[in-house]
Amino acid sequence: MAQIEELYNAILKGNRKIVQEQVQAAVAGGMSPQEILFESMVPAIREIGDRFSRGQAFVPEMLIGARAMQAGVQILQPLMDKAGMKSLGKVAIGTVKGDLHDIGKNLVAMMVKSAGYEVIDLGVDVPVEKFEDCVKNSNVDVLMLSALLTTTMPYMKTVVDHLKGQGLKCRILIGGAPVTQAYCNQIGADGYSPDANQALGLVEGFFQKAS
């Protein structure tokens, strides 16, 4: 197995057209979707995330890289479905009720999806009933809650209290500008991340433990 350098670099640069060309060429050359995804594409998106953590890349680079990657995944998806390839796990994400901010949520969703997980994006202004419905009916392993405002952050506790009270087993991770580890501890959430890259790390950590 080998990394396709042009594909890796095209994701780093966010060049969607070249990503599509490279993926198509790799498929035509007989490489498996799994090999293309996990040898070239996922390492590229992880590299962007690491650059972000080091302050060398910024939100726009992460978004454009994830967008380019998704263009390649769209080509691979039918082949992966045909081969019976399963996602690494199922994650749901939403911005809590009263809060309309979605940049952070979208970024986390794209990073997690790009790393091979199935992501259900519940959108913004999500009430507790919708989170509950999703966890109960979609077999979600990890639920991620986002809030940007101090005025909406307390709703995370409402969601955590309600879902834990129902005895639902999924892990609840929280994030957003005003959120802290102390707040996470205070409301009994299972994890907190200050940025999208670390959020992906939390998800990966959870699934590694679970397996």
């Binding site: 939100v59 454009i64 967008r67 101090t150 005025t151």
Partner: protein
Amino acid sequence: MDNAFYLDLAGKHGGMPVGTDLVLHEQPDPQAVKMDGGRLGAVIVEAASRYRTPVAMPLMDLMLEKRHMLRLLGIPEDQIPTWHFPDVPTAGARARIREGLTAALDPQLQAHVDSISHVARTTSLHAVGMSIGPFSLATKLLGDPITPVYLSGMGMTANDEPDVARLDAVLELAFQTVMRSLEAQIAAGAQSIFIAEPAGNKVFFSPNQLEAGADIFERYVIQWNRRIAERLRAAGVHLLFHCCGELVDPMVQAYGRLGASLISLGSSRDLVHDAGLLPENIVLYGNLPSKKFYSDELISADEVRLQSAGLRSRMRACGHPFILGTECDVLSVPGCEAQLKAKLEAIVNT
């Protein structure tokens, strides 16, 4: 424009937190107050009195102009907060907005304008208007505003990329809507106008692209705010420019060239450093971390006092005109009102 008013204020005034939302939420019916210019004006006057400032800061509602624009398109009220342009606005939609902007204001925006009028007519306070900045308004009208900015920075144009075309068209409409709001506020007697452009920051604009020479920050943020600044100058109204997002130095310098009387920055900035980036006649305002004020664990009232004294002392030492304040308006958080009020009092009394 002569900046004597704010320079004088910086010379003699203590802290000046933006606490209008806290006073609003002490009312039994805050939503009804937001629809009534007289009552909203009274809230603004009460906030100025409580925080002992001659500057009457209005409510910072950054949804007003979006609501006004989308009502012109007939978007249902319950969809307005999350509604985005799915495509490049059609010629018909653009014409409908332009035409609508010459007619009456949306009731809530009218109440905002009336509240400024109330302050200007009935008090000797310095009446301040408020609007979201054009780029920040455009970001609220698009599902993904970041990607087209980046693509534009890569050299793609509206002809190459539909996303860029949509951003360009929506930004033009956003500017026209903001100007309509500003004209009404100027006519109502605003002596200063606070332009909140929180999206003009490094989440939306990659510092890597700016460093490589992309002109996206100029094209998408600065040129529109320059036109606003010119209009305000012509009307004899002070520009108070606000961006609480994370910035790199060239962004702060670009804001400094707008000719604002006062610049308000977020707590991620070191104001002593920024003083060196800005002309000496621009008053710096801020920048205590008010987004953490809801929690005593994150910051106590004593720490607010310490930070207030420390920041004031450092700014005095650097000699740049400065007014101590909050990094943004202080939002009322249910259950945390006492903590919030104690911290605003700490600013005023330090």
